[in-house]
Amino acid sequence: MLNRWLKKLIGKSDSRGVAKKRLQFALVYDKLEVSDEVLIKLHQDIVDVISRYFEIDKESLKLDIRKSEGRSALIVNTPILSARRIYPSVKASA
């Protein structure tokens, strides 16, 4: 009882609310966890797709998953060397 008044007086937040927020964040992050294997495959696929349209430096393409404010973003960063003049048809790439 006295504890509760003291908590209110010093404006300490309730641990229940803290627990819920921590949980919600933890669950979001747990679900975003991607294995290295998946990342390597994704990296290769992205390189393949971009290479159809641009000449890129395959080595310097960077893939990153950034988490902020409860959202996550996939960020691909690659320098373009030149655009391809003739786009390969879908058939040719298949």
Partner: protein
């Protein structure tokens, strides 16, 4: 007869799976159902002790898997509760003896004899989990109102969904006073985070410790809040429409007086 196989699982250990299995099994048997509870924790058996049957084990589920006995022969009849049977785990470390396929086969046998087959899943999401989930038609997930337990429950729920099983949730060991004071996740918080159907709420109850000390069935104790909660859970599993009761804080004399004269809540 074609009984139901229900797995009771949690991910995290120590949240009350074994107690829940023993209590729900006993409660269903009290409703005149033929019930078999199976300890799936090979090498670390405990359901036998919880039910007070540890001295009567002859065969176990691994013996049945290896063909040393029929699965029905491994079932120990409870002396206090009619229609309740326990199939114990083995205590030696031959945990590779069980596979999902073997469990599906054993449960097929058990379905013929029992209305309910409750599988007490070991903690974790490895082999023991796979063995317990493979034969299951339904799943009950047990968690306590703590961050670690809810987080693991979420993981297990996702794994169950991946196997086309829609689980139902029991929130165990609720301390109503702490929830009221804002120091414990409420069942609404837990359901909100997990978004899963609620099967029941069980308050923290000292009677659980006392009854596991003696091996006496908790559900037979009229004064045990947890025991009575499990009985209502069993009725819901039977398909009865029983509203979910929210554990209430015990009001002290001064609080009661405060309510009477109109101050405090």
């Amino acid at each position: 007869m074609d009984g139901k196989v229900i797995v009771i699982t949690s991910g995290k250990g120590g949240v009350g799976k074994t107690t829940a299995t023993a209590c729900i099994g006993a409660a269903l048997a009290l409703e005149n159902r033929q019930v078999a509870v199976v300890d799936m924790d090979i090498g670390l058996r405990n359901l036998d002790g919880g039910m007070g049957l540890e001295n009567r084990i002859v065969f176990n589920v691994v013996d049945a898997a290896k063909g040393k006995c029929k699965i029905k022969q491994a079932a120990i009849k409870d002396r206090r509760i009619e229609n309740l049977y326990l199939i114990p785990a083995s205590q030696s470390d031959n945990k590779d003896a069980l596979t999902p396929d073997i469990m599906v086969r054993l449960c097929k046998e058990l379905r013929k004899e029992f209305d309910y087959v409750l599988l007490d899943c070991p903690a974790g999401i490895e082999r023991g989990f796979e063995n317990s989930v493979a034969p299951a038609d339904e799943a009950v997930v047990v968690c306590t109102p703590e961050v670690s337990s809810v987080r693991d429950a979420d993981r297990v729920i996702a794994l169950l969904y991946a196997r086309s099983i829609t689980p139902r949730l029991i929130v165990n060991r609720i301390v109503p006073e702490m929830v009221e004071n804002g120091d414990m996740l409420s069942h609404e918080d837990v359901v909100d985070v997990l978004s899963v159907e609620l099967l029941g709420l069980v308050p923290l109850d000292n009677q659980v410790v006392i009854s596991t000390n003696t091996g006496a069935p908790l559900v037979l104790q009229k004064d045990s809040e947890a025991g009575q909660s499990f009985r209502r859970i069993a009725l819901r599993m039977e398909g009865q429409d029983i509203p979910i009761e929210i554990p209430q804080a015990q009001k002290s004399f001064w609080k009661k007086l405060g309510i009477i004269i109109g101050i405090g809540k």
